[in-house]
Amino acid sequence: MRANRLGAALAVALTATLASCGSGEPAQSTEAAQSPTAAAQGPVKLVYWTWAPNMDKIVDVWNKAHPDIQVTVSKQAGGDDAAAKYLTASKAGNPPDLVQAEYQHLPSFIAADAVADLKAETAAVKGEFSEGLWNLVTLGTEGVYGIPQDSGPMMLFYRQDLFDKYGIAVPKTWQEYADAARTVRKKDPKAYLGTFSSKDPGAFTGLAQQAGAQWWSISGESWKVNIADEPTKKVADYWDGLVKEGAIDDMPFFTPEWNKALNDGKLLSWPSAVWAPGVLSTNAPKAKGKWAIAPLPQWNAGESFSGFWGGSSVAVSAKTPNKAAAAQFATWLNTDPAALELLVKEAAIYPASTKAQSALGEAPEYFSNQPDFWQQAATVSAGARGFTFGPNVGVTYNSFKDAFDKALQSKSPFSAAIQTMQDATVADMRKSGFQIAS
């Protein structure tokens, strides 16, 4: 029942617009100040879209040392919406100069011609990153479309105190994880070992990567889409069984209810990524010091694979008039030792730079009971396998949410949801004219 109020709001907006038009003075908006004409007169001014916490503090350090290149942080809400917003801004012709781009969204940015090729500007720093991460910003092509900032290798976060209380050993394989899930249900009918979230395609993607999935690949001049491959089906069937049996809950991650369960000890584990301490410290403050980490359970005993959930790079807009300056800042931010230290300390990220990863010392405060946090993370990271993301991840991820929502609701098989994702992705790529190899 908001239509009439919306009308009123529009009327106010109109009046405001007219008023500012009629005043005869250009509005002193930030956009106006950052236009290329303004840049020609004074120092280069760059706008940087990011959602990493405290990024403004880090940028302040840069601005003090570089009076000729001034960067302004524009704080964004993270996630898939941020990517959509950037694509829309880019299409509308006024994107920021720099943008934090999650690895899975980078291909859509490249396909939309929204990010600049930084091959020349980054030749010197290529060696600072592992080959796997570097591949994520090149897609295996000649171009370089971003500078890796952080990565999100997945680990198992679990409640050490409750595992001890219920006599559960840390699961080494997914089989053991399933058994542990059943044990938890027996010991405390109100608690669950974990939950399957139909809202977080990123988490599922990471688990599929761990199992060896390759959803997209490029062969010659065409794309291969293989979302419904064997490893992915294996992962889907596994969680399907646990959810239908009632051994695992199906409430989505990051809801108020989920937070409460984490805080109250009603959820005993979370297969998540290295950035989880930030989430846990905000959402489950009561459980501080009670969580511990372990490598993800494996499909076959003795293996040590992991996948990636999230992780992002800094990309430069294809439309910026100040590409060189933007590339210079992005390089500093992700390779300079002082900047990296700030990134870890202030923004609480797991840096992409290999050197910075090995220099990590003290565990995150929430995990003060786990002094070897970063060493474990490094081990996990070494065994993490990612894959090339496709040019329409937005479609795939949205299809995941809808299809898995439906599967949970109607108790239909998860493997059918996987097939829906595959079909939706291929149909969308066909419609846009991408060359697809069958």
């Binding site: 959509a84 291909p107 108020p256 004219g433």
Partner: protein, 290 residues
């Protein structure tokens, strides 16, 4: 000079209309006839261009089963909201207008107050009440408010809670404008308060009821806030639950502005047909025209 005066007065309206209505609508129609085409891998410069596809996007929107499912869901939801909300609004207006009610001013404000709460805030608030482990209601009532069958009612509840006050105020204001001697005459004829309400007040209210119904039909077709805000909390609301949500998804999640433009034009056309259709049906009662 005198001749030009009317045009001078009209100019602001025409300029506003052109800038903020005609041009955007024209641009939307234009966008709806395009599609983005890539070649080969679709990576790198110049691999993506816009091509003209005529009415293809409209055809796709009209033949999209998911969009029609959305309409069905909104129809069910809308019927529920319209009947309950307008029924309650009418009931409250009549109660407040009756001579014997106490605390009328307080009740009026209390019923109207939810309308002042922004839709997103209201939905979040209700969302917390619906969530099993956070809700005080759930401790008493063992109902899954966000289940596949119940979620429509839960959403309708939010809309009703927010909308009753506004509609009640419209009806109540109309009631206050009725000359009191009409009631007196009815009473002299031996009519009870209930009979006065049914035989005198409601017939006089009909135009106002029609007005609130048209407003409510338009608002219901555009339902977006409630399902979008509740969606992260449950797995029973899809990204295309209502037609407008599908437009949002196409434009901003999957990046297909062209389909979104076509679908939004289809929605606008259906809204026009529904609201004008309703007005046509009730024209006699509303305006006393033949």
């Amino acid at each position: 000079m005198k001749r030009s005066a009317p045009y001078v007065f009209l100019t602001p309206a025409i300029v506003l209309f052109t800038l903020f209505l005609a041009v955007p609508i024209g641009y939307t129609v234009y966008l709806a006839m395009l599609r983005s085409k890539v070649s080969g891998l679709g990576l790198g410069k110049g691999s993506r261009r816009e091509v003209f596809v005529g009415f293809d996007n409209f055809a796709a929107a009209l033949s999209d089963a998911e969009l029609w499912n959305g309409w069905l869901r909104v129809l069910g939801y809308g019927a529920l909201v319209l009947v309950v909300m307008l029924g309650l609004a009418l009931l409250f207006a009549l109660l407040l207008d009756s001579a014997r009610v106490r605390l009328a001013r307080f009740s009026r404000i209390a019923i109207f107050l939810p309308y002042a709460v922004p839709g997103v805030a209201a939905t979040l608030l209700w969302g917390f009440l619906y969530l099993p482990s956070l809700s005080p209601i759930r401790e008493i009532l063992d109902v899954d408010f966000l289940g596949a069958t119940t979620v429509t009612y839960s959403m309708a509840n939010v809309a009703v809670w927010g909308g009753v006050g506004f509609n009640m105020l419209v009806l109540y204001t109309t009631l206050r404008a009725i000359p009191r001697d009409l009631y007196e005459a009815a009473r002299l004829d031996g009519a009870s308060e209930f009979q006065i309400a049914i035989r005198v007040k409601i017939p006089i209210l009909v135009p106002a009821i029609i007005l609130t119904t048209v407003f409510s039909i338009i608002a219901t077709i555009q339902v977006f806030t409630e399902p979008t805000t509740l969606r992260p909390l449950t797995n029973t609301i899809s990204s295309t639950w209502s037609p407008l949500m599908k437009v949002y998804r196409d434009a901003f999640v999957t990046g297909d502005l062209y389909s979104a433009a076509a679908t939004s034009i289809v929605i606008a056309a259906i809204s026009l047909v529904l609201s004008f259709g309703f007005l046509r049906v009730v024209r006699n009662r509303a305006f006393g025209e033949g």
